[in-house]
Symmetry: C2
Subunit: 316 residues, 2 copies
């Protein structure tokens, strides 16, 4: 059986045909048509489905389902995108719009973070697990929860906003307006900002030198690379980051007691340089004698496509 | 049908016969026999079951189940108490021990916080809800989670330790050894401690006066009463408490998005003086446009008995 999975992002639309072994057997992508009405976007997407059907030598009606991952929240009836700011989608009846092109193929919508967790469940770090948490460490914090072997969409279907758990009461302001959220302390953005501050405070240290003294050339990646190279300033920033992230993971571990926590996003590419001290830090703060596995997410850039293609299996 | 529910605490064993309408139709209690071997305790409990059977005019075998709530963690096979420090129970095979007295009546064990949430589910603040959180604000913090209409025991069955979510990274030390846990900032103990400090700092203020200048006479209740009476010092302590608790509730709301959060324990008796500002504070920090209901727990002292009696309905 073949399923269609769309990963719709603010810069790109990616789509794949996913088979029963979770392989992407055909794929397409195109820039997201920013500024166009949503029907235009849906038209492009429908064109992709027809082109992929042709490539696979089947009729589009043969696809088992069409799943769509969007970076925003989905209405509780799972028919509309309530807000996806990067897409400028607000109250968009995306399911019906896509359905109108393929009346006989069921269409499913999902939040991209939830969908990524579903991808890990069927094909990655969560295979065979019942309770698991995916955290993506990027510009912001994404989070997806698996409970009882299924995607958990929040008790009132508002979704899971793990990045807005309060980690430092009265701490630094978060973009959401609350102080001390996980997202204010555990993102690549935090690493970048601390690296930039260090350019001012320690102009002769490695971060500043490597950036040619230009704050704007400092990235989270540069801070991590300097820490790996043994620089004390970068090492201190990274140690604080690990300590903050360890507190966030301990919070989740103490509340949910997951079998596994998987980390994705740019910062997770630091590998064992991140994971080894993070496991130790989290376990130290975990109330239980052990905490679940803390591992890299496995699905990478294909998480959206594969997770979206699996949304049908999560329905009903 | 009649069910037996035990609420075993460090100072008292309470037991009741619970009918289908969640009424306690007969009850007994006795001091907990501290220092005796557990078989002695089980003997007392078995005696209660026989006495209650007699009082109800039935044979003990007619009881549908025996449920036991203990202040500790239960093994993942739900047969033993792993640690219940207040009872000095460590690796106690409580289910088998009770079962040996009544071979034909199924016996169930539960953590007291989980059991209290079950009581709210069947008879109190969580009736008809699928996703709900119970938080007891006492000397420590207790927490029970209902997910999908069922008691959530943690993904690895370690339980739910809501009190040890990190609320203030690098904050005050918690009894568990981690800094800034919910339990370090949201208990009656925190209110008491701040009240005591105020006796030193503000010896002429209301808290100190009412306590006759004696720190040891300051309680959370006194702090709340002085705040209610309009005292500025007590009011400031209470406002900080509400702000801290609001951050804790926002964390839970943003991760789980529960339909309802119920608060029990001594501090919750402050009533709307607590709940009104707490709702406002939590909503301000909640990522979603609304957060679930924030209400007083309803089951009070009978939560353990009724929840334990309902454990059978949660099994299987």
């Amino acid at each position: 059986m073949l399923q269609i999975g769309f990963d719709v992002g603010g810069s790109n639309i990616a789509v794949g045909v996913v088979d029963d072994d979770m392989r992407i057997v055909a794929r397409r992508s195109a820039p997201f048509p920013t500024g166009e009405p949503y029907s235009h976007t849906v038209g492009i997407m429908a064109g992709f489905v027809r082109a992929l059907a042709k490539e696979c030598g089947v009729d589009a009606r043969a696809f088992q389902s069409i799943g769509i991952a969007v970076p925003g929240n989905i209405s509780s009836d799972e028919a509309s995108v309530v807000h996806a700011y990067n897409l400028q989608f607000h109250h968009v009846p995306l399911r019906a719009a896509m359905q109108s092109h393929f009346p006989s193929v069921p269409v499913y919508l999902g939040n991209d973070a939830d969908v990524a967790a579903v991808a890990e469940l069927y094909a990655g770090a969560f295979k065979g697990r019942q309770t698991a948490v995916l955290i993506t460490l990027g510009t912001g914090i994404g989070g997806g929860l698996i409970v009882g072997g299924r995607m958990f969409k929040g008790g009132r279907k508002n979704g899971v906003e793990l990045g807005h758990m309060v980690l430092a009461h009265n701490g630094p302001m978060c973009t959401c307006g609350t102080r001390g959220c996980v997202e204010a302390l555990c993102t690549a953005t935090w690493l970048t900002r601390q690296g930039r501050i260090s350019v001012i405070e320690y102009p002769k240290a490695m971060i500043s030198t490597k950036a040619g003294g230009d704050m704007n050339r400092v990235s989270a990646r540069l801070v991590i690379d300097c820490a790996k190279a043994g620089d004390a300033i970068a090492g201190d920033i990274f140690a604080r980051y690990v300590d903050q992230l360890g507190s966030a993971l301990a919070s989740v571990a103490n509340l949910i007691d997951p079998e596994v926590i998987a980390l994705g996003g740019g910062v997770s590419l630091a590998g064992e340089f991140l994971f080894a001290p993070l496991r130790e830090n989290t376990l130290m703060k975990c109330f239980f004698d052990t905490c679940g596995d803390i591992v890299p997410a496995q699905m990478g850039n294909d998480a959206g496509i594969i997770g979206a293609a699996m949304l049908q299996r999560q329905s009903g």
